[in-house]
Amino acid sequence: MTWSEIQPLLTQGFWDTLYMVGWSALVALLGGLPLGVLLVLTDKGGMLHNAPVNKVVGAVVNVGRSLPFIILLIALIPFTRLVVGQSVGSTAAIVPLAIGAIPFFARLVETAVREVDRGLVEAVQAMGGGTPTVVFKALLPQALPSLVAGLTTTVIVLIGYSAMAGTVGGGGLGSVAVQYGYQRFETSVMVATVVALIVIVTAVQLIGDAVVRLLTAGRGGEGAAGRWPARLGRGRTVGVAAAVVVPLALIGYGVGQGGEDKQTLTIAASPTPHAEILEYVEKNLAEKEGLKLDIRKFNDYVVPNTATESGEVDANFFQHKPYLDDFNKKQHTHIEPVVNVELEPLGLYSKKEKSLKGIGSGDTVAVPNDSTNEGRSLHLLDEHGLIELKPGAGQEATLGDIADTKGLKFKELEAAAVPRALDDVDAAVVNGNYAVDAGLNPAKDALVAEEAKGNPYANFLAVKDGNQDDPRIKKLAKLLNSEQVKEFIQDKYQGAIEPVFGPVGS
């Protein structure tokens, strides 16, 4: 990719990251500060000594801290929906980010406040000050430099967490790196985002350190006597200005994002090729039909369906029939296909052999490990005589359904990771989109590939049952099956992805 292509990705990613991290840090600050102070006050010897409260709060904080963020992200989806009315997008990512950061920051607050000399608490009490006075006039002002340092650390951790926000379509620099760098082998994008992240983290740290220095210098700390006080005023002004301007800017950005009108269709899609096809439609065809598309990119295969079910997005475009049937059954959802669009033919690739004949007894073949893709892969191998499946093996066939391996060994990997394994195995069955991302061409490079005709694995536009007749959906379905889209797919993917139009067979 060229710089002109990377630059908008970076800009958007930067704003998304700033938006998510800014808000979640603010919430973590407001939530973690009282929790941390409470932990100190209710502890043994504290002013509000209360063992049960201390134990419960401590336990909650510890549980919050030990949960891996990605689990929190998924587990909190219902709560997120309750709070911000949606479970996908940058705004939705703020909820788990903030909840993850609150206990983290609370512990840092606790440590900072504990460091304040007990004598000061005593002095304020001796003046007739109550608990609020002690907290607001002694503990917090005294701990301020440590609190700022703690907040800096929290913001940096949040920047790290926000990389996972792509799971719920939150965007941000981290998910740009994952989407383009990891999944699509766009090393230049990955390098650019990583550099951008390093710059941001460094800047945050430097600003945090500078504020801490200003604060301590203002107090006539070591070696600063007489030199610094004059600058304190300026430091405070900058601090206050930043405290006011940054949240306002973030609010403005959030509001700007929220603007939606009736004709806008929100669609959840995988980045490649689904979102690209939709972007083509949006740029070239939708306008004329009076249609506006809001395309949300997801790296995950669960959230697009749950978001469609809950109505947060109007439609999705990323899956095929066997996957959807399984999903509807297991998750009790009611998603229905509308129209087929494309097929990413599964192919068998090898870096060692030039033709199918070279693959045989003793060779290792990598296959995706998820139920539908694995079954699909085994059926492909079966059709071409590399293995023999037991009679009646279904679409979700597994290694256990193989009647005769004909000497082949198998390695099961996550679908996205399979192309990376090509160097280590003799052959691999790779999904079309991942093959394209890895620079492979199903038409030219595959030893064998799936047939497009009558293939149940064609990807379609899907909606919640009952919305099939929404005029906007009908318009989009028509545009996705248009001659222009067909040409676009053929041109752009050169046979790697094939247009498969028409109603979805059952």
Binding site: G46, M47, L48, H49, D117, G119, L120, E122, A123, V124, Q125, A126, M127, G128, G129, G130, T131, T133, K137, A138, P141, Q142, L144, G218, R219, G220, G221, E222, A225, G226, P229
Partner: protein
Amino acid sequence: MITTKDLTKVYRTRDREVTALDGVDLHVHEGEVFGVVGQSGAGKSSLIRCVNLLERPTSGTVTVDGQELTALAGNGKRAGKELRAARGRIGMVFQHFNLLSSRSVLGNVELPLEILGHSGQERTRKAHELLDLVGLADKAKAYPAQLSGGQKQRVGIARALAGDPKVLLSDEATSALDPETTRSVLQLLRDLKEQLGLTVLLITHEMDVVKAVCDSAALMKNGRITESGTVPELLATPGSELARELFPVGGVPSAPGRTVVDVTFHGETTTEPVISKLSRTYNVDISILGAAMDTVAGKQVGRMRIELPGSFEDNVVPIGFLREQGLTVDVAAVARDDAPDTGKTDAADSAAGLVKEGAK
């Protein structure tokens, strides 16, 4: 002004109980500087912290300026509104100053005024006034980290005076200061007491502090007050440990068969004429072995160890003369033939103990 009745404080830790105060009855009169001395762990800090209820006594009562503080509401470590208001009228000065490093000197003195609810302007005016009083008018804008120990303690004193207290509590306020600074801070306390009519309860382990500023003193041992009274009263008490510590006299007889007596001056008589009068009247050679004289509360007080020729029986008349002059005369153990040596060693040891304590 400050009265405690049968004050007891028991600290309970998981595995044991420590009785820090064991039935303390303390009476501090209005307008006096009252010093409490005692070895480390005697319970001095516990006592002073119980006076403003920073530590809630296990039993007993505390009355300050006619108000029974122990009767005021408060549960556990939380103080009720009335108790907080009462604390606002009692100033407290700490060994380690306990100034907020996040506030300027002025800000530190304003803090109690903020708690008392004074308006901004009023606060600043009053804080400047207080800083003026302790001689730090020019340091208002400085931060505590930029001050010397003595200056910090002056700020601490200014802060303690913010609520116009009638009572000032001081726990080892000069222990972290060098002797020179200690003297000037004590002088300040003394001046403020005169100027503002303060009653001061101060804790110290330095006898010099008591000598320099205290009108009255008490000795604490194992959570109990073993001696208490005005300094002259203590001096007049035969065998007073405090008097001995305050005015230690040394010196051993120049030859056996002589009588050594310790003479205590309470401030009514002057030193020289009595001794020379004795010498002239009875024609005896008196040699002074050692003396510790000082001005306590404006009066000449102290003790002197003198040696008279001959045995105790030979000196009954001169000693009677000294007693007639209103002086306390103890026959020192060192010269008494019948006194066992251990008696002397005990006294010396305990004096040494206190000196060591003071050096800590």
